[in-house]
Amino acid sequence: MSVVPNMPKSWREETKPHKFCPGCGHGLVLKALGEAIDELAIQEKVVFGCDIGCSLLSWDFFNCDSVQTHHGRTTPVVTGVKRARPDRICIAYMGDGGGYAIGAQHLVNAAARNERITAILVNNCNYGMTGGQMAPTTLPGMKTQTSPYGRDTDSMGYPTQGPEMVAAIAREGAYVARGTVANVRQLKRYIKSALQNQIDGNGFSFVEALSGCPTNWSTNAQKTWEFIEKEMPQYFKVGEIKTPGKKGE
């Protein structure tokens, strides 16, 4: 007799086990998202868009209508859906390369227009899908395939502070937070608040999730968690950054 582990109702059982590498953070973020969808009872209304990056592996992850877009283009595809079908709950799921590099213009402008969509971005400090190149979020000194001698802040700058940037641009009504897979309960709370913000029609909502990429970091389980829990928070502060009715910090 096989025992099926507890999974969110909105997950599609037929496509499990999922396709991410063992120890990958994407699965945890999608677990938090699945539970948030369940608790808000919005499965029927969700339109899920995933980017090209390891997020693309979630194209058949949920029992929700889903669309795999282009690298960096999930925000505009999902915005297009929302403008055409305001009754849907539209989610754009992407990586840090997709959101902060190639798709940064879309994120900035969606925030500036206060699009009523929810963007969820997985920050794993690199381009996972393409084999571990430097991302906007790569930590100073961190070695990647395109920063083989370590990220040099003099020529390549510092890690992009995504939620802070979005919060600075977004208008009143937006919800912006940064969670971590090291605290899935809190992450779920943030994602739920973000989705609720869309349901309430307040404005743009954005959650970044600190996450692990053991494959490209070349880390074992212990080192992966150390990196997520100790290294990443030195540059990326976890917490709610902007909530409707409150002033941003």
Binding site: L56, Q68, G72, A101, I102, T130, G131, Q133, T146, S147
Partner: protein
């Protein structure tokens, strides 16, 4: 700082992406601008490791739109600048490459074709032919080398810089995922030992002296006010391009002199076609093969000459007729029958060509 990346000549066994990085080093490329995409990534991976040792630079941009335009900026500054991409990245680079066409900016772009349309596969195809030859809102004023081996990746990457800087049209090296990822042996060399002199680069911006006092300022322009004005500019560009064509056009033939059936294929497909010719000839079947090396501009006259005595042409490609369109345009008016063997996004073997040819006898 190390001086020469390759002294004399050296036999090596490596992937095509590594070859491109070494060739760019040997060609004295100053800077690469790039953005990750499979199957091109390792060009950057090797370049980022090697470049600092030879005083060369690299910038990872935020996307391919930026990589293409930063390449234009580097070239305008008089640097031998290049970039490399594939698939969706190639789409995004078309914008900057039209600027290069219009303003005669000698950019070099290495394309490792992957499956399309859209994100499709990261593996292999010949589906970026139309885009690489004619992408953008222009007239296709560019030179595209379709390579078939690691040796050619090396040779033509070096040549790309020289042809670009000599004629000032954007030059593309059109490889594919197989060539990018496969390991193969080749001879790398210092271009000087082969008598290849790197064409000197010229800055268009940032020259010495006070503009307007010591020298004329550079006022580089790509926008025009009237239809007449633009028509004249483009007509002149086309004229200059056409002048260059006979000097750069390249092709190869295999037993086409007395061939009844001529296989047409470019890039890595030529290897399957060459193998098929060998097998079929051994069986007494009169088959030949024509292969453009510059897929654009195209050796139209040479193919026309073959059409005069051939009884049948077979166009073979890993795309749905992108190469065939070029062929049709080149031999418009010829009456030789033409068949096609298309496998969009999939490789072609010599065996299947042999089988196809024999079925049609």
């Amino acid at each position: 700082m190390l001086e020469k990346p390759i002294g004399g000549e050296k036999r090596v066994f490596m992937t095509g992406n590594e070859v491109v990085a070494w060739a760019a080093l040997a060609a004295e490329a100053d800077i690469m601008y790039g953005y990750p995409i499979t199957p091109q990534n390792e060009v950057m991976h090797y370049w980022t490791r090697l470049a600092p040792k030879y005083g060369r630079s690299f910038l990872q941009t935020e996307d391919e739109i930026s990589a293409g335009f930063t390449t234009c900026g580097g070239v305008l500054s008089g640097k031998r600048a290049f970039t490399a991409t594939a698939g969706p990245g190639n789409i995004l680079m078309q914008e900057s490459m039209t600027m290069a066409e219009m303003m005669r900016i000698p950019t070099v772009l290495v394309v490792q074709q992957r499956g399309g349309p859209s994100t499709a596969t990261v593996i292999y195809s010949q589906q970026e032919v139309t885009m690489t030859c004619f992408g953008g809102n222009g007239e296709g004023l560019r030179i595209v080398y379709s390579t078939c081996s690691h040796q050619e990746l090396y040779d033509y990457t070096i040549k790309a810089f020289n042809v670009a800087w000599k004629y000032r049209f954007p030059v593309f090296v059109l490889g594919d995922g197989y060539q990018a990822k496969m390991r193969e042996s080749l001879k790398m060399y210092d271009p000087a030992t082969k008598g290849i002199k790197m064409v000197e680069t010229q800055p268009s911006l940032g020259l010495a002296g006070v503009p307007g006092v010591d020298r004329e300022p550079s006022h580089l322009r790509n926008t025009y006010n009237t239809e007449e004005e633009l028509c004249e500019v483009v007509t002149n560009l086309v004229k200059e391009y056409n002048k260059v064509v006979p000097e750069v056009v390249e092709y190869e033939t295999f037993e086409t002199e007395v061939a009844e059936i001529v296989l047409l294929g470019h890039g890595i497909v030529t290897r399957a076609a060459q193998a098929a010719v060998k097998t079929l000839r051994e069986q007494g079947i009169k088959v030949g093969h024509f292969r453009p090396i510059t897929i654009h501009p195209f050796a139209a006259d040479e193919l026309r000459a073959i059409c005069k005595h051939a009884k049948k042409l077979i166009v073979i490609e890993s795309a749905q007729g992108q190469f065939e369109r070029i062929v049709k345009e080149a031999i418009y008016g010829e009456s030789v029958p033409m068949e096609s063997y298309f496998k969009p996004g999939q490789g072609v073997t010599g065996e299947e060509i042999v089988e196809y040819v024999k079925k049609g006898l």
